[in-house]
């Protein structure tokens, strides 16, 4: 029953995210032919600096369908929209003082705080995994409709890396929700943090090489190398630590 309660609390956030990402996945695939047409008539870009480099890199990646899907979907769309929902799904929980949150009612039941928090976290992570995998799996399914193919394995591997590395945002939002009494502050703080991280990665190539975006996008795998194991392990470690700290916070606090 705790699972069903956790699902009830987060289902609208999940379903909105799911619908949005499914639409984005469809737009990404179906928009490729139009992009190819545009690239044919587009003049050569000779803008200098970091911006020029990024534009040229995007155009180069878009010449190949696999590169286009990776850069458009996993690097851009998912790193923005998915992170937004990861932070949103992590927010809330036992401490949220919204009307009818039932905190005292829950705490009066013979169930441990650890179990309540654990099931809430597990539900959020399962929803997050679904948000990472299901829309990504739509890519190989829809690609034949525009005369292209995208590997199921690629979709699964990129989706999984996105989930493991990006869970950091969920876990931090979850941890902040054991400090703040509303849903919005944890969400906004994590999004602010994600924005700063993204900015740093864009302005500093050195930072970018070891950045979370690279791990979430599994760039090393895309470029023919192996999976970013170190990054994945570190991200998973941070997530586990944040979730553990959140559980301890809830166990220790007075209501």
């Amino acid at each position: 029953m705790l699972w069903s309660k956790a699902w009830r609390e987060t289902r609208w956030r999940f379903l909105i995210g799911f619908a949005l990402l499914m639409c984005s996945a469809a737009v990404t695939v179906l928009g490729y032919p139009r992009l190819v047409e545009l690239m044919k008539v587009m003049p050569n870009t000779d803008t200098g600096g970091e911006l020029g480099r990024q534009i040229r890199e995007s155009i180069e990646l878009a010449r190949d369908y696999r590169g286009y899907v990776w850069s458009q979907w996993f690097l851009k769309t998912m790193s923005q929209q998915w992170v937004l929902f990861a932070a949103l799904l992590g927010a809330g929980g036992l401490l949220a003082r919204s009307a009818g949150s039932g905190t005292l009612f829950m705490l009066s039941l013979p169930v441990s705080r650890r179990r309540i928090v654990g099931i809430r976290a597990a539900t959020g992570l399962v929803e997050l995994l679904a948000l990472a995998l299901v829309p990504s799996l739509l890519l190989p399914l829809l690609s034949p409709a525009i005369g292209h193919t995208y590997g199921l394995g690629d979709a699964l591997i990129h989706g999984s890396c996105l989930f493991v590395a990006g869970s950091v945002f969920f876990s931090l939002s979850f941890l902040l929700s054991t400090v703040f009494h509303d849903v919005w502050r944890p969400w906004l703080i994590v999004l602010g943090g994600a924005g700063v991280l993204s900015l740093l990665e864009q302005v500093s190539p050195g930072f970018s090489r070891h950045g979370l975006s690279r791990v979430m996008g599994a760039e090393s795998y895309f470029r023919g190398g192996g999976l970013p194991w170190l990054g994945l392990i570190v991200s998973a470690g941070v997530s586990v630590a944040a979730l553990y700290a959140a559980t301890r916070n809830i166990e220790r606090r007075d209501f």
Binding site: M1, G100, L109, P110, S112, D254
Partner: protein, 299 residues
Amino acid sequence: MTDPLVIETADLLKSYEGVEAVRGLNLQVPAGSICGFLGRNGAGKTTTIKILLGMVRPTRGIARVLGLPADAPDASLEIRRRTGFVSEEKDLLDTMGVDEILRFTASFSPRWRTDLEKRFLQAFELPADRKVKSLSRGMRTKLALLLALCRGADLLILDEPTSGLDPAMNEEVLKILVGHVAREGITVFFSSHQIAEVDQIADHVAIIHDGRIARAGALDDLRESFRRIQVVFPGDAPETTFRAPGVERTWRKGRVVTVLSSAGAEQIVDEAREMGPTSVDVTPVTLKEIFLESVTGEG
């Protein structure tokens, strides 16, 4: 032989960032009693209840419920398995329907009483298909009470169970509560600042003031021990101090001296008679007066 204690606290203290909400609380609630927990706003009633249910950890002291330490996580689980609770805010899960919250609560209650569920659903006229958030304040209170009663609990802890109810609904809820307790023989510990309500259903009372128990015991004993003695003199009342035990307060006005005693009237009457009064009258004291005397010194 005295009844075993269902709730027992000793020197219980809870402070929040240096502010003491409960300070050295010594409370005893005997098994099978209906104990009213009276106090002004901010006296420490809700904090005490939260400590008993493991929602708040005491800073110091002992709190035992059903013989188990309330601050030990495993024991607290067992306490909550055997205790029904209604919070002051009638805090429930608003996203659920009435039927869903019943099933949800039953899933955590090994001793869930489906017979009571049916009976109270009918008695309270609760619509099973309605969303909890759409219930009126009165209906919400009834649902919260139903959820607590159906858990087959040995102890009910109710924090201001009738707050916000109109007098008719208040009466109805109290009647159902008393009827249930009489049938099931459980213990009820309920906080209130409605003295009439406590007077109506409680057999024990604990008055909390400034985080401490100011007065506690069987209601009949309290009523028996508290007396107002009015002594009328032929001229101005003499400036005198009564030596008898239990003198809580003495007023002097013209020819009349009034004494409030918490240890009967006999010795005070004897003392008064030695002063040559024209009359000595002894009258009983209401719970309201006992309460006011305990929390404001103005009984």
